[in-house]
Subunit: 346 residues, 2 copies
């Protein structure tokens, strides 16, 4: 099945801007079920996995029994795989984890950025002294990395560096889960200062397909750990991102049937346990504003969402554009087409 | 001459995102000298003129003699054609104009948005009561529209509406300057609540080519008015946008030889009086971050900028990407290629 997706920014009668969107749909055996294709299949296109890698970055901590020994709740697992909005509830979870492992916000290698949560943003604007690395959307992942380093007896200082055994383990785990040789994975530094992984869209989708299969059926130790992580994320959709955020709202719309996780620069991954499919969606230019419209239309076209599921996603599907005075003056809209063919590269 | 331009977002070894950039280069006679071409010429592609229309929206006020009667300085003309950063100096100019015509910030139809200027942003964050429509990057244009309405004896209330004689005049003026029938121009509402115009990139470039020719040679009344506006903008590059902004820095690099004006959603127009060329550059997806890299490389490829001019534009040409802790972790880089051929559509 060949897909085409673009998102238009419509301002009155003017199609002002255009986003091109690429996607790959893969099953747990690694078969490419569908992909966008402009010139050849986009499934082979390499981009960075960013925060969509978080379930796999959490995997060693769970797989090695540390989450059990620490007695982690679903919410705590979810915050360690989260790109959270920095709400007070999110911060409380991260703070609680850090306290349990004897660390503080000062041990986090991620920098500060303003929280997306409106209440928290007001907090730090009123009191700039309250700014803390806890607000970084990745602070839960970093707390998890610190917890792993402590549990393994590795130094916590420098845990964010590429050569640290913890980051070497992250690379190996992502490579194994996405079935890509580690040596072929280009690396960069993520927004939160840890290594980030360059993968083909199809490999990201395969990682999520295997996550989906594990969520449905469990299996050996790794599959059980993936099941625990995936189910915790689906049980805690607001913890994983935040109120009104795309992945949260897709999980809420899916009512337990779907796991969704966004990544910076226009990425969204979806795991569908019912079919074992993994779906990778990337806005070529990295714009997050185009991901909602494209994702909702693509997930409808793929049957991952049913029309009635999409009702609650209208603000993501057709987000309004406002002028500075607050009047609606346009909207974003995705155009998706599906071409059924034997060869996804056709 | 056929051009190709794209901007890559490079994060370590990963090409994370990609922006496609379209452009058209036109002379004052309307000949298309160069254009990007993916499928057919991109010169015919319609997008919104946004703030790049401001010199033409200011034209009636100057052409009808009102600017002379009000004794407007270069800086006042420049602020009326500006997308300013909301610095204290910008605000003082707008406030001064409003006082002279007996209006206040409350008469401006544009809404408030946070200023780009760091000092002013701190001002409004410390004292949210200081937020005012003066900070809107278009407040100078709106002050000019109010001044025109007063001078023409039109009601100032509702001056932002499509059916108001002032906005009808804006439409006719843009249509005439860009040589497009007014009836064929699709309309929308701009971020500052006035009508915005959909034009082919080649028509925008033609408007700027005629502005360039007028700046060089003057001529009849309209050309003289365009000359006055263009020269005021070039004389006041920091007033037109602000410190560190792309169009400001291109004008500074051009040392009086170039006029540049940005528009929202990834647009940049350049007028080159020395050659009479007008250049329109549009990032297809609307991302402003891609405009600097693409514009500097394209202007170098076109000979509009010389290599030594570009030294001061390095932060626009190859802007760094930082992580939240402030470390440089990547950069944006444009790839521009030029194919010389008789047919720009080839």
């Amino acid at each position: 099945m060949r897909l085409q997706a673009e998102v238009l920014v419509l301002r009155g009668a003017i199609a002002e801007s255009r986003h091109r969107v690429q996607c790959a749909v893969v099953d747990a055996a690694g078969s490419l079920l569908a992909a966008s294709a402009e010139s050849g299949s986009d499934a082979a296109r390499v981009t960075s996995f960013r925060s969509a890698a978080k379930p796999f970055q959490l995997l060693p901590f769970v797989e090695r029994g540390h989450a059990d020994r620490l007695g982690c709740s679903d919410a705590e697992l979810a915050i360690m795989a989260a790109s959270h909005s920095g709400s007070r509830a999110h911060l409380a979870l991260v703070r609680g984890l850090l306290e349990r492992i004897g660390c503080t916000a000062g041990d986090l290698a991620c920098g500060y950025h303003d929280p997306m949560d409106a209440e928290s943003l007001t907090d730090v604007q009123r009191d700039p002294g309250a700014k803390s690395r806890l607000y970084n959307n990745c602070s839960g992942k970093h707390a998890g990395m610190l917890a792993l380093a402590k549990a393994e007896g590795w130094p916590t200082a420098g845990y964010e560096r590429r050569e640290h055994p913890l980051q070497q383990l992250m690379l190996r785990t992502v490579a194994e889960c996405c079935v890509v040789p580690a040596a072929t994975i280009p690396l960069g530094v993520d927004g939160c200062s840890v290594p980030v992984f360059g993968l083909p869209l199809a490999a990201m989708a395969l990682g999520y397909a295997r996550l989906a299969a594990a969520m449905a059926r469990g299996g050996e130790a790794r599959a059980q750990a993936l099941q625990r992580i995936g189910r915790a994320m689906v049980a805690e959709p607001v913890t994983v991102e935040g109120e009104g955020r795309l992945a949260t709202d897709i999980m809420l719309a899916g009512r337990g049937r779907l796991l969704a996780k966004s990544g910076a620069e226009g990425l969204l991954l979806v795991a569908e346990p019912g079919t074992g499919r993994g779906i990778a969606i990337k806005c070529e230019d990295g714009a997050m504003r185009a991901v909602g419209p494209a994702a909702v239309e693509l997930l409808l076209a793929l049957g991952t969402l049913e029309p009635r599921d999409a009702d609650s996603l209208n603000l993501h599907r057709r987000p309004p554009v406002h002028d500075a005075a607050g009047h609606p003056v346009g909207l974003l809209e995705a155009r998706v087409s599906v071409v059924v063919s034997d060869d996804v590269r056709a």
